[in-house]
Symmetry: C2
Amino acid sequence: MDIEALNNWKFEDIEHSYTERDTMLYALGLGFGEDPNDPKELAYVYEDGLVAAPSMAVILGYPGFWLKDPKTGIDWKKVLHGEQWLEVFKPLPVAGTVIGRTSIDQISDKGEGKGAVLYLSRDIIDAASGETLARVKMSTFCRGDGGFGGENLPGPVPAVLPERAPDHVCDLTTLPRQALIYRLSGDYNPLHADPEVARSVGFDRPILHGLATYGLAGRAVLKSICDYDSSRLVGLDVRFSAPVYPGETVRFEIWEDNKDVRFRATVPERDVLVLNNGAARLA
Amino acid sequence: MDIEALNNWKFEDIEHSYTERDTMLYALGLGFGEDPNDPKELAYVYEDGLVAAPSMAVILGYPGFWLKDPKTGIDWKKVLHGEQWLEVFKPLPVAGTVIGRTSIDQISDKGEGKGAVLYLSRDIIDAASGETLARVKMSTFCRGDGGFGGENLPGPVPAVLPERAPDHVCDLTTLPRQALIYRLSGDYNPLHADPEVARSVGFDRPILHGLATYGLAGRAVLKSICDYDSSRLVGLDVRFSAPVYPGETVRFEIWEDNKDVRFRATVPERDVLVLNNGAARLA
Protein backbone atom coordinates (compact mmCIF):
# COMPACT_ATOMS: atom_id res chain seq x y z
CA MET A 1 0.00 0.00 0.00
CA ASP A 2 1.04 3.56 -0.57
CA ILE A 3 0.99 4.76 3.02
CA GLU A 4 1.70 8.38 2.13
CA ALA A 5 -1.13 8.47 -0.36
CA LEU A 6 -3.43 6.90 2.22
CA ASN A 7 -2.35 9.27 5.00
CA ASN A 8 -3.35 12.15 2.73
CA TRP A 9 -6.41 10.49 1.23
CA LYS A 10 -9.34 12.85 0.77
CA PHE A 11 -12.82 11.41 0.49
CA GLU A 12 -15.48 13.38 -1.27
CA ASP A 13 -18.72 13.76 0.65
CA ILE A 14 -21.26 11.30 -0.72
CA GLU A 15 -24.78 12.67 -1.00
CA HIS A 16 -27.29 9.86 -0.81
CA SER A 17 -31.01 10.34 -1.34
CA TYR A 18 -33.29 7.45 -0.55
CA THR A 19 -36.99 6.78 -0.48
CA GLU A 20 -39.40 4.80 1.66
CA ARG A 21 -39.26 2.14 -1.02
CA ASP A 22 -35.48 1.87 -0.52
CA THR A 23 -35.95 1.59 3.25
CA MET A 24 -38.51 -1.20 2.83
CA LEU A 25 -36.35 -2.98 0.27
CA TYR A 26 -33.34 -2.86 2.60
CA ALA A 27 -35.40 -4.50 5.35
CA LEU A 28 -36.78 -7.13 2.95
CA GLY A 29 -33.17 -7.88 2.03
CA LEU A 30 -32.64 -8.81 5.69
CA GLY A 31 -35.77 -10.94 5.78
CA PHE A 32 -37.99 -8.55 7.72
CA GLY A 33 -41.62 -9.36 6.94
CA GLU A 34 -41.04 -13.07 7.46
CA ASP A 35 -44.14 -12.94 9.65
CA PRO A 36 -46.17 -10.36 7.73
CA ASN A 37 -49.05 -10.60 10.22
CA ASP A 38 -46.97 -9.28 13.11
CA PRO A 39 -47.61 -5.52 13.00
CA LYS A 40 -44.38 -4.73 14.85
CA GLU A 41 -42.29 -6.55 12.27
CA LEU A 42 -44.45 -5.22 9.44
CA ALA A 43 -43.43 -1.67 10.44
CA TYR A 44 -40.05 -2.24 8.76
CA VAL A 45 -41.57 -3.13 5.40
CA TYR A 46 -44.83 -1.19 5.12
CA GLU A 47 -45.05 2.52 4.49
CA ASP A 48 -47.87 3.12 6.99
CA GLY A 49 -45.91 3.58 10.22
CA LEU A 50 -42.61 2.74 8.54
CA VAL A 51 -39.42 2.65 10.60
CA ALA A 52 -35.87 2.19 9.33
CA ALA A 53 -33.77 -0.70 10.59
CA PRO A 54 -30.90 0.96 12.50
CA SER A 55 -28.35 -1.14 10.61
CA MET A 56 -29.38 0.63 7.41
CA ALA A 57 -26.84 3.31 8.34
CA VAL A 58 -24.09 1.01 7.05
CA ILE A 59 -25.37 1.28 3.47
CA LEU A 60 -25.96 5.05 3.50
CA GLY A 61 -23.44 7.47 2.03
CA TYR A 62 -21.12 4.63 1.12
CA PRO A 63 -18.05 5.83 -0.81
CA GLY A 64 -17.93 2.72 -3.00
CA PHE A 65 -15.09 0.27 -3.40
CA TRP A 66 -12.41 2.97 -3.35
CA LEU A 67 -9.71 0.48 -2.24
CA LYS A 68 -9.61 -0.64 -5.86
CA ASP A 69 -8.19 2.75 -6.86
CA PRO A 70 -4.58 1.97 -7.98
CA LYS A 71 -3.41 5.11 -6.16
CA THR A 72 -4.00 3.35 -2.82
CA GLY A 73 -1.40 0.75 -3.79
CA ILE A 74 -3.54 -1.82 -1.97
CA ASP A 75 -3.70 -5.42 -3.20
CA TRP A 76 -7.48 -5.16 -3.24
CA LYS A 77 -8.09 -8.77 -4.22
CA LYS A 78 -6.70 -9.79 -0.84
CA VAL A 79 -8.79 -7.53 1.39
CA LEU A 80 -11.31 -8.89 3.89
CA HIS A 81 -13.96 -7.05 5.85
CA GLY A 82 -12.80 -7.55 9.43
CA GLU A 83 -15.05 -5.71 11.84
CA GLN A 84 -18.03 -3.39 11.74
CA TRP A 85 -19.16 -0.89 14.35
CA LEU A 86 -22.18 1.38 14.46
CA GLU A 87 -23.38 4.12 16.74
CA VAL A 88 -26.83 5.56 16.10
CA PHE A 89 -27.39 9.04 17.51
CA LYS A 90 -30.84 9.61 16.07
CA PRO A 91 -33.35 7.24 14.44
CA LEU A 92 -32.72 7.18 10.72
CA PRO A 93 -35.34 8.94 8.62
CA VAL A 94 -37.34 6.50 6.47
CA ALA A 95 -36.63 8.73 3.47
CA GLY A 96 -34.40 11.71 2.89
CA THR A 97 -30.97 12.85 1.89
CA VAL A 98 -27.87 12.17 3.92
CA ILE A 99 -24.19 12.95 3.52
CA GLY A 100 -21.65 10.20 4.06
CA ARG A 101 -18.33 11.68 5.21
CA THR A 102 -15.58 9.10 5.32
CA SER A 103 -12.13 9.33 6.85
CA ILE A 104 -9.26 7.00 7.65
CA ASP A 105 -8.82 6.63 11.41
CA GLN A 106 -5.64 4.58 11.48
CA ILE A 107 -3.60 2.04 9.58
CA SER A 108 -1.99 -0.73 11.56
CA ASP A 109 1.04 -2.55 10.19
CA LYS A 110 0.98 -6.21 11.18
CA GLY A 111 4.33 -6.80 9.49
CA GLU A 112 5.72 -8.15 6.25
CA GLY A 113 3.76 -11.18 5.10
CA LYS A 114 1.16 -10.56 7.81
CA GLY A 115 -0.83 -7.70 6.38
CA ALA A 116 -2.22 -4.38 7.48
CA VAL A 117 -5.49 -3.25 9.01
CA LEU A 118 -7.23 -0.14 7.78
CA TYR A 119 -9.72 1.55 10.12
CA LEU A 120 -12.32 3.81 8.55
CA SER A 121 -15.06 6.01 9.98
CA ARG A 122 -18.06 7.39 8.18
CA ASP A 123 -20.44 9.94 9.61
CA ILE A 124 -23.99 9.83 8.30
CA ILE A 125 -25.19 13.42 8.34
CA ASP A 126 -28.71 14.62 7.72
CA ALA A 127 -28.33 16.90 4.70
CA ALA A 128 -31.16 19.22 5.72
CA SER A 129 -30.29 19.77 9.39
CA GLY A 130 -26.56 19.05 9.36
CA GLU A 131 -27.05 16.71 12.32
CA THR A 132 -24.93 13.58 12.54
CA LEU A 133 -27.38 10.68 12.62
CA ALA A 134 -24.96 7.81 12.94
CA ARG A 135 -21.29 6.88 12.87
CA VAL A 136 -20.22 3.79 10.99
CA LYS A 137 -16.77 2.31 11.47
CA MET A 138 -15.13 -0.65 9.84
CA SER A 139 -11.82 -2.40 9.69
CA THR A 140 -10.44 -3.94 6.54
CA PHE A 141 -7.75 -6.56 6.74
CA CYS A 142 -5.38 -6.03 3.80
CA ARG A 143 -3.67 -9.41 3.68
CA GLY A 144 -1.19 -8.43 0.99
CA ASP A 145 0.00 -5.14 2.45
CA GLY A 146 2.01 -5.48 5.67
CA GLY A 147 5.55 -4.34 6.29
CA PHE A 148 5.32 -0.74 5.15
CA GLY A 149 7.24 0.46 8.20
CA GLY A 150 4.24 1.58 10.21
CA GLU A 151 3.27 0.87 13.80
CA ASN A 152 1.37 -2.21 14.86
CA LEU A 153 -1.46 -0.19 16.39
CA PRO A 154 -4.14 -1.99 18.36
CA GLY A 155 -7.75 -1.73 17.19
CA PRO A 156 -10.78 -1.38 19.45
CA VAL A 157 -10.96 -4.15 22.03
CA PRO A 158 -13.45 -6.80 20.89
CA ALA A 159 -16.47 -7.40 23.11
CA VAL A 160 -16.04 -10.38 25.42
CA LEU A 161 -18.83 -12.95 25.43
CA PRO A 162 -20.03 -14.32 28.79
CA GLU A 163 -19.19 -17.90 29.74
CA ARG A 164 -22.78 -18.69 30.73
CA ALA A 165 -25.41 -20.11 28.42
CA PRO A 166 -27.01 -17.47 26.21
CA ASP A 167 -30.14 -15.72 27.42
CA HIS A 168 -31.74 -15.89 23.98
CA VAL A 169 -31.25 -18.06 20.95
CA CYS A 170 -32.71 -16.65 17.75
CA ASP A 171 -32.64 -18.63 14.51
CA LEU A 172 -33.11 -16.58 11.37
CA THR A 173 -33.53 -18.43 8.11
CA THR A 174 -32.28 -16.90 4.91
CA LEU A 175 -33.65 -17.65 1.48
CA PRO A 176 -31.54 -19.07 -1.34
CA ARG A 177 -32.40 -15.81 -3.13
CA GLN A 178 -31.61 -13.62 -0.08
CA ALA A 179 -28.47 -12.05 -1.55
CA LEU A 180 -30.36 -11.26 -4.76
CA ILE A 181 -32.82 -9.16 -2.76
CA TYR A 182 -30.19 -7.65 -0.46
CA ARG A 183 -27.92 -6.53 -3.28
CA LEU A 184 -30.60 -4.19 -4.67
CA SER A 185 -29.72 -1.99 -1.70
CA GLY A 186 -26.53 -1.07 -3.51
CA ASP A 187 -23.76 -3.65 -3.19
CA TYR A 188 -23.80 -5.26 -6.64
CA ASN A 189 -20.58 -7.21 -6.16
CA PRO A 190 -21.10 -10.26 -8.43
CA LEU A 191 -19.58 -12.49 -5.73
CA HIS A 192 -23.06 -12.44 -4.19
CA ALA A 193 -24.98 -13.36 -7.34
CA ASP A 194 -22.84 -15.02 -9.96
CA PRO A 195 -21.93 -18.69 -9.38
CA GLU A 196 -18.97 -18.46 -11.77
CA VAL A 197 -17.50 -15.42 -10.05
CA ALA A 198 -17.97 -17.12 -6.67
CA ARG A 199 -16.20 -20.28 -7.86
CA SER A 200 -13.35 -18.23 -9.35
CA VAL A 201 -12.48 -16.96 -5.88
CA GLY A 202 -12.83 -20.29 -4.14
CA PHE A 203 -16.45 -20.47 -2.98
CA ASP A 204 -18.85 -23.26 -3.95
CA ARG A 205 -21.50 -20.71 -4.80
CA PRO A 206 -22.33 -17.05 -4.16
CA ILE A 207 -22.04 -15.99 -0.53
CA LEU A 208 -24.28 -13.66 1.40
CA HIS A 209 -23.00 -10.10 1.85
CA GLY A 210 -21.18 -9.70 5.16
CA LEU A 211 -23.29 -6.62 5.80
CA ALA A 212 -26.46 -8.67 5.22
CA THR A 213 -25.35 -11.06 7.97
CA TYR A 214 -24.59 -7.96 10.02
CA GLY A 215 -28.12 -6.68 9.36
CA LEU A 216 -29.49 -10.05 10.47
CA ALA A 217 -27.73 -9.48 13.78
CA GLY A 218 -29.64 -6.23 14.19
CA ARG A 219 -32.85 -8.02 13.30
CA ALA A 220 -32.13 -10.77 15.84
CA VAL A 221 -31.56 -8.23 18.61
CA LEU A 222 -34.65 -6.22 17.67
CA LYS A 223 -36.76 -9.38 17.62
CA SER A 224 -35.34 -11.06 20.72
CA ILE A 225 -34.92 -8.11 23.05
CA CYS A 226 -36.40 -4.89 21.68
CA ASP A 227 -39.90 -6.08 20.74
CA TYR A 228 -39.03 -4.64 17.30
CA ASP A 229 -38.72 -1.09 18.69
CA SER A 230 -36.13 0.33 16.29
CA SER A 231 -35.34 3.30 18.52
CA ARG A 232 -33.93 1.02 21.23
CA LEU A 233 -31.03 -0.30 19.16
CA VAL A 234 -28.33 2.39 19.16
CA GLY A 235 -25.15 0.41 18.64
CA LEU A 236 -24.16 -2.75 16.82
CA ASP A 237 -20.62 -4.14 16.55
CA VAL A 238 -19.40 -7.42 15.10
CA ARG A 239 -16.29 -9.24 14.01
CA PHE A 240 -16.74 -11.22 10.81
CA SER A 241 -15.54 -14.82 11.04
CA ALA A 242 -16.85 -16.65 7.99
CA PRO A 243 -19.41 -16.12 5.24
CA VAL A 244 -23.00 -17.35 5.24
CA TYR A 245 -24.41 -19.04 2.15
CA PRO A 246 -27.86 -17.82 1.13
CA GLY A 247 -30.43 -20.38 2.22
CA GLU A 248 -28.70 -21.20 5.49
CA THR A 249 -30.13 -20.62 8.92
CA VAL A 250 -28.14 -18.26 11.10
CA ARG A 251 -28.32 -18.90 14.84
CA PHE A 252 -27.80 -15.92 17.13
CA GLU A 253 -26.80 -16.60 20.72
CA ILE A 254 -27.51 -13.49 22.72
CA TRP A 255 -26.57 -12.39 26.24
CA GLU A 256 -28.26 -9.47 27.98
CA ASP A 257 -26.64 -7.30 30.61
CA ASN A 258 -29.00 -4.34 30.97
CA LYS A 259 -28.23 -2.05 28.06
CA ASP A 260 -25.23 -4.04 26.93
CA VAL A 261 -26.01 -6.96 24.73
CA ARG A 262 -23.47 -9.51 23.54
CA PHE A 263 -23.93 -12.02 20.79
CA ARG A 264 -22.35 -14.32 18.30
CA ALA A 265 -23.76 -16.11 15.27
CA THR A 266 -23.22 -19.56 13.86
CA VAL A 267 -24.51 -21.61 10.96
CA PRO A 268 -25.50 -24.79 12.82
CA GLU A 269 -25.79 -26.92 9.68
CA ARG A 270 -22.08 -26.41 8.97
CA ASP A 271 -21.07 -25.84 12.62
CA VAL A 272 -19.32 -22.61 11.62
CA LEU A 273 -18.97 -19.39 13.56
CA VAL A 274 -19.90 -16.52 11.23
CA LEU A 275 -20.01 -13.49 13.56
CA ASN A 276 -18.05 -13.21 16.78
CA ASN A 277 -17.58 -10.68 19.58
CA GLY A 278 -20.96 -9.11 18.85
CA ALA A 279 -22.10 -6.16 20.91
CA ALA A 280 -25.31 -4.21 20.76
CA ARG A 281 -26.21 -1.21 22.87
CA LEU A 282 -29.74 -0.38 23.90
CA ALA A 283 -31.11 3.10 24.53
CA MET B 1 -71.55 4.89 -13.73
CA ASP B 2 -71.58 8.03 -15.82
CA ILE B 3 -71.60 6.42 -19.26
CA GLU B 4 -71.29 9.72 -21.11
CA ALA B 5 -68.28 10.76 -19.05
CA LEU B 6 -66.71 7.35 -19.65
CA ASN B 7 -67.44 7.40 -23.39
CA ASN B 8 -65.52 10.68 -23.57
CA TRP B 9 -62.84 9.79 -21.04
CA LYS B 10 -59.38 11.03 -21.99
CA PHE B 11 -56.36 9.35 -20.46
CA GLU B 12 -53.13 11.25 -20.23
CA ASP B 13 -50.10 9.44 -21.57
CA ILE B 14 -48.13 8.02 -18.66
CA GLU B 15 -44.37 8.33 -19.01
CA HIS B 16 -42.65 5.62 -17.00
CA SER B 17 -38.90 5.40 -16.57
CA TYR B 18 -37.48 2.29 -14.98
CA THR B 19 -34.08 0.87 -14.22
CA GLU B 20 -32.45 -2.55 -14.20
CA ARG B 21 -32.99 -2.55 -10.46
CA ASP B 22 -36.74 -2.15 -11.03
CA THR B 23 -36.72 -4.99 -13.54
CA MET B 24 -34.90 -7.29 -11.10
CA LEU B 25 -37.17 -6.27 -8.24
CA TYR B 26 -40.27 -7.02 -10.32
CA ALA B 27 -38.96 -10.52 -11.02
CA LEU B 28 -38.04 -11.06 -7.36
CA GLY B 29 -41.62 -10.08 -6.53
CA LEU B 30 -42.72 -13.06 -8.61
CA GLY B 31 -40.22 -15.37 -6.94
CA PHE B 32 -37.69 -15.56 -9.76
CA GLY B 33 -34.32 -16.50 -8.29
CA GLU B 34 -35.86 -19.28 -6.20
CA ASP B 35 -33.04 -21.42 -7.59
CA PRO B 36 -30.24 -18.84 -7.73
CA ASN B 37 -27.79 -21.39 -9.10
CA ASP B 38 -29.75 -21.92 -12.31
CA PRO B 39 -28.18 -19.40 -14.72
CA LYS B 40 -31.30 -19.30 -16.92
CA GLU B 41 -33.49 -18.32 -14.00
CA LEU B 42 -30.81 -16.00 -12.64
CA ALA B 43 -31.02 -13.96 -15.85
CA TYR B 44 -34.25 -12.39 -14.57
CA VAL B 45 -32.69 -11.12 -11.36
CA TYR B 46 -29.03 -10.37 -12.15
CA GLU B 47 -27.84 -7.42 -14.20
CA ASP B 48 -25.21 -9.39 -16.13
CA GLY B 49 -27.30 -10.79 -18.99
CA LEU B 50 -30.53 -9.42 -17.54
CA VAL B 51 -33.85 -10.08 -19.29
CA ALA B 52 -37.24 -8.68 -18.40
CA ALA B 53 -40.10 -11.02 -17.56
CA PRO B 54 -42.66 -10.46 -20.37
CA SER B 55 -45.43 -10.01 -17.81
CA MET B 56 -43.69 -6.86 -16.57
CA ALA B 57 -45.58 -5.02 -19.31
CA VAL B 58 -48.68 -5.06 -17.09
CA ILE B 59 -47.04 -2.77 -14.53
CA LEU B 60 -45.54 -0.32 -17.05
CA GLY B 61 -47.22 2.97 -17.86
CA TYR B 62 -50.09 2.19 -15.51
CA PRO B 63 -52.56 5.06 -15.22
CA GLY B 64 -53.26 4.42 -11.54
CA PHE B 65 -56.58 3.68 -9.88
CA TRP B 66 -58.50 6.18 -12.02
CA LEU B 67 -61.84 4.38 -11.41
CA LYS B 68 -61.85 6.05 -8.02
CA ASP B 69 -62.31 9.44 -9.73
CA PRO B 70 -65.86 10.54 -8.76
CA LYS B 71 -66.40 11.79 -12.32
CA THR B 72 -66.57 8.16 -13.51
CA GLY B 73 -69.62 7.66 -11.33
CA ILE B 74 -68.37 4.11 -10.68
CA ASP B 75 -69.01 2.41 -7.35
CA TRP B 76 -65.28 1.69 -7.11
CA LYS B 77 -65.47 -0.31 -3.89
CA LYS B 78 -67.39 -2.95 -5.81
CA VAL B 79 -65.04 -3.41 -8.74
CA LEU B 80 -63.17 -6.66 -9.40
CA HIS B 81 -60.33 -7.35 -11.80
CA GLY B 82 -61.90 -9.86 -14.17
CA GLU B 83 -59.51 -10.74 -16.96
CA GLN B 84 -56.05 -9.80 -18.15
CA TRP B 85 -54.60 -10.10 -21.63
CA LEU B 86 -51.15 -9.34 -22.93
CA GLU B 87 -49.53 -9.28 -26.34
CA VAL B 88 -45.79 -8.69 -26.50
CA PHE B 89 -44.51 -7.35 -29.82
CA LYS B 90 -40.90 -6.85 -28.82
CA PRO B 91 -38.93 -8.01 -25.79
CA LEU B 92 -39.20 -5.38 -23.08
CA PRO B 93 -36.03 -3.37 -22.47
CA VAL B 94 -34.49 -4.09 -19.07
CA ALA B 95 -34.33 -0.35 -18.45
CA GLY B 96 -35.71 2.64 -20.26
CA THR B 97 -38.63 4.97 -20.64
CA VAL B 98 -41.98 3.88 -21.97
CA ILE B 99 -45.29 5.59 -22.57
CA GLY B 100 -48.47 3.94 -21.36
CA ARG B 101 -51.41 4.99 -23.54
CA THR B 102 -54.73 3.80 -22.15
CA SER B 103 -58.14 3.79 -23.78
CA ILE B 104 -61.56 2.32 -23.08
CA ASP B 105 -62.45 -0.36 -25.63
CA GLN B 106 -66.03 -1.05 -24.62
CA ILE B 107 -68.43 -1.04 -21.73
CA SER B 108 -70.88 -3.88 -21.49
CA ASP B 109 -74.12 -3.48 -19.55
CA LYS B 110 -75.09 -6.71 -17.81
CA GLY B 111 -78.29 -5.15 -16.52
CA GLU B 112 -79.66 -3.56 -13.38
CA GLY B 113 -78.39 -5.37 -10.28
CA LYS B 114 -76.00 -7.41 -12.40
CA GLY B 115 -73.22 -4.95 -13.09
CA ALA B 116 -71.17 -3.75 -16.01
CA VAL B 117 -67.87 -4.79 -17.54
CA LEU B 118 -65.30 -2.22 -18.58
CA TYR B 119 -62.71 -3.25 -21.16
CA LEU B 120 -59.49 -1.25 -21.27
CA SER B 121 -56.43 -1.37 -23.53
CA ARG B 122 -53.02 0.07 -22.85
CA ASP B 123 -50.25 0.31 -25.36
CA ILE B 124 -46.72 0.25 -23.97
CA ILE B 125 -44.67 2.42 -26.30
CA ASP B 126 -40.92 2.80 -26.30
CA ALA B 127 -40.43 6.51 -25.68
CA ALA B 128 -37.23 6.74 -27.70
CA SER B 129 -38.28 4.85 -30.85
CA GLY B 130 -42.06 5.29 -30.72
CA GLU B 131 -42.45 1.54 -31.25
CA THR B 132 -45.29 -0.26 -29.51
CA LEU B 133 -43.65 -2.93 -27.36
CA ALA B 134 -46.73 -4.54 -25.90
CA ARG B 135 -50.48 -4.25 -25.58
CA VAL B 136 -52.10 -4.85 -22.23
CA LYS B 137 -55.85 -5.35 -21.92
CA MET B 138 -58.00 -5.90 -18.92
CA SER B 139 -61.61 -6.22 -17.96
CA THR B 140 -63.03 -4.81 -14.78
CA PHE B 141 -66.29 -6.11 -13.42
CA CYS B 142 -68.18 -3.18 -11.89
CA ARG B 143 -70.64 -5.01 -9.69
CA GLY B 144 -72.56 -1.91 -8.63
CA ASP B 145 -73.02 -0.31 -12.04
CA GLY B 146 -75.34 -2.25 -14.36
CA GLY B 147 -78.54 -1.00 -15.96
CA PHE B 148 -77.32 2.23 -17.53
CA GLY B 149 -79.16 1.47 -20.77
CA GLY B 150 -76.16 0.14 -22.65
CA GLU B 151 -75.76 -3.00 -24.70
CA ASN B 152 -74.79 -6.34 -23.23
CA LEU B 153 -71.71 -6.68 -25.43
CA PRO B 154 -69.74 -9.90 -25.36
CA GLY B 155 -66.10 -9.83 -24.32
CA PRO B 156 -63.29 -11.85 -25.88
CA VAL B 157 -64.06 -15.57 -25.88
CA PRO B 158 -62.19 -17.24 -23.00
CA ALA B 159 -59.64 -19.89 -23.91
CA VAL B 160 -61.01 -23.42 -23.61
CA LEU B 161 -58.96 -25.89 -21.62
CA PRO B 162 -58.48 -29.41 -23.02
CA GLU B 163 -60.27 -32.33 -21.39
CA ARG B 164 -57.11 -34.43 -21.23
CA ALA B 165 -54.68 -34.53 -18.31
CA PRO B 166 -52.29 -31.58 -18.31
CA ASP B 167 -48.95 -31.94 -20.09
CA HIS B 168 -47.11 -30.13 -17.29
CA VAL B 169 -47.82 -29.46 -13.65
CA CYS B 170 -45.75 -26.68 -12.12
CA ASP B 171 -46.00 -25.85 -8.43
CA LEU B 172 -44.73 -22.41 -7.48
CA THR B 173 -44.48 -21.60 -3.81
CA THR B 174 -44.99 -18.07 -2.62
CA LEU B 175 -43.52 -16.58 0.54
CA PRO B 176 -45.63 -15.16 3.34
CA ARG B 177 -43.81 -11.89 2.53
CA GLN B 178 -44.33 -12.25 -1.25
CA ALA B 179 -46.83 -9.39 -1.56
CA LEU B 180 -44.49 -7.13 0.44
CA ILE B 181 -41.81 -7.63 -2.19
CA TYR B 182 -44.18 -7.50 -5.15
CA ARG B 183 -45.82 -4.25 -4.07
CA LEU B 184 -42.53 -2.34 -4.38
CA SER B 185 -43.12 -2.62 -8.12
CA GLY B 186 -45.79 0.02 -7.74
CA ASP B 187 -49.13 -1.29 -6.49
CA TYR B 188 -49.16 -0.07 -2.89
CA ASN B 189 -52.80 -0.96 -2.23
CA PRO B 190 -52.82 -1.68 1.53
CA LEU B 191 -55.09 -4.68 0.92
CA HIS B 192 -51.88 -6.55 0.10
CA ALA B 193 -49.95 -5.52 3.22
CA ASP B 194 -52.17 -4.38 6.04
CA PRO B 195 -54.00 -7.10 8.02
CA GLU B 196 -56.57 -4.60 9.31
CA VAL B 197 -57.40 -3.29 5.86
CA ALA B 198 -57.70 -6.86 4.58
CA ARG B 199 -60.07 -7.81 7.40
CA SER B 200 -62.14 -4.68 6.83
CA VAL B 201 -63.03 -5.92 3.35
CA GLY B 202 -63.69 -9.50 4.37
CA PHE B 203 -60.36 -11.31 3.99
CA ASP B 204 -58.64 -13.17 6.83
CA ARG B 205 -55.38 -11.51 5.98
CA PRO B 206 -53.72 -9.59 3.12
CA ILE B 207 -54.11 -11.22 -0.28
CA LEU B 208 -51.54 -11.47 -3.04
CA HIS B 209 -51.95 -8.99 -5.90
CA GLY B 210 -53.93 -10.50 -8.77
CA LEU B 211 -51.20 -9.32 -11.12
CA ALA B 212 -48.60 -11.13 -9.00
CA THR B 213 -50.53 -14.37 -9.49
CA TYR B 214 -50.69 -13.42 -13.17
CA GLY B 215 -46.91 -12.95 -13.20
CA LEU B 216 -46.53 -16.37 -11.58
CA ALA B 217 -48.41 -17.79 -14.56
CA GLY B 218 -45.81 -16.28 -16.87
CA ARG B 219 -43.06 -17.71 -14.70
CA ALA B 220 -44.68 -21.16 -14.76
CA VAL B 221 -44.87 -21.13 -18.57
CA LEU B 222 -41.29 -19.86 -18.92
CA LYS B 223 -40.05 -22.53 -16.54
CA SER B 224 -42.14 -25.45 -17.81
CA ILE B 225 -42.04 -24.87 -21.55
CA CYS B 226 -39.67 -22.07 -22.57
CA ASP B 227 -36.51 -23.12 -20.73
CA TYR B 228 -36.67 -19.59 -19.29
CA ASP B 229 -36.21 -17.98 -22.72
CA SER B 230 -38.13 -14.73 -22.18
CA SER B 231 -38.37 -13.98 -25.91
CA ARG B 232 -40.55 -17.05 -26.48
CA LEU B 233 -43.47 -15.86 -24.36
CA VAL B 234 -45.42 -13.34 -26.45
CA GLY B 235 -48.92 -13.58 -25.06
CA LEU B 236 -50.49 -14.28 -21.68
CA ASP B 237 -54.21 -14.21 -20.90
CA VAL B 238 -56.06 -15.20 -17.75
CA ARG B 239 -59.40 -14.97 -16.04
CA PHE B 240 -59.14 -14.29 -12.31
CA SER B 241 -61.19 -16.65 -10.17
CA ALA B 242 -60.09 -16.18 -6.58
CA PRO B 243 -57.24 -14.58 -4.67
CA VAL B 244 -54.07 -16.31 -3.48
CA TYR B 245 -52.83 -15.75 0.05
CA PRO B 246 -49.09 -15.06 0.32
CA GLY B 247 -47.36 -18.21 1.50
CA GLU B 248 -49.56 -20.55 -0.49
CA THR B 249 -48.36 -22.84 -3.26
CA VAL B 250 -49.92 -22.19 -6.64
CA ARG B 251 -50.25 -25.19 -8.91
CA PHE B 252 -50.26 -24.55 -12.65
CA GLU B 253 -51.74 -27.20 -14.91
CA ILE B 254 -50.47 -26.57 -18.40
CA TRP B 255 -51.44 -27.94 -21.81
CA GLU B 256 -49.26 -27.51 -24.89
CA ASP B 257 -50.54 -27.38 -28.43
CA ASN B 258 -47.58 -26.14 -30.47
CA LYS B 259 -47.45 -22.40 -29.97
CA ASP B 260 -50.74 -22.29 -28.10
CA VAL B 261 -50.51 -23.02 -24.44
CA ARG B 262 -53.46 -23.37 -22.10
CA PHE B 263 -53.38 -23.36 -18.34
CA ARG B 264 -55.23 -22.89 -15.13
CA ALA B 265 -54.02 -22.43 -11.57
CA THR B 266 -55.25 -23.74 -8.25
CA VAL B 267 -54.23 -23.53 -4.62
CA PRO B 268 -54.24 -27.23 -3.73
CA GLU B 269 -54.19 -26.66 0.03
CA ARG B 270 -57.57 -24.90 -0.16
CA ASP B 271 -58.75 -26.71 -3.31
CA VAL B 272 -59.54 -23.38 -4.95
CA LEU B 273 -59.27 -22.38 -8.59
CA VAL B 274 -57.43 -19.04 -8.73
CA LEU B 275 -56.81 -18.54 -12.47
CA ASN B 276 -58.95 -20.03 -15.20
CA ASN B 277 -59.04 -20.05 -19.00
CA GLY B 278 -55.33 -19.31 -19.17
CA ALA B 279 -53.72 -18.92 -22.58
CA ALA B 280 -50.11 -18.26 -23.46
CA ARG B 281 -48.71 -17.81 -26.96
CA LEU B 282 -45.21 -18.81 -27.89
CA ALA B 283 -43.09 -17.16 -30.58
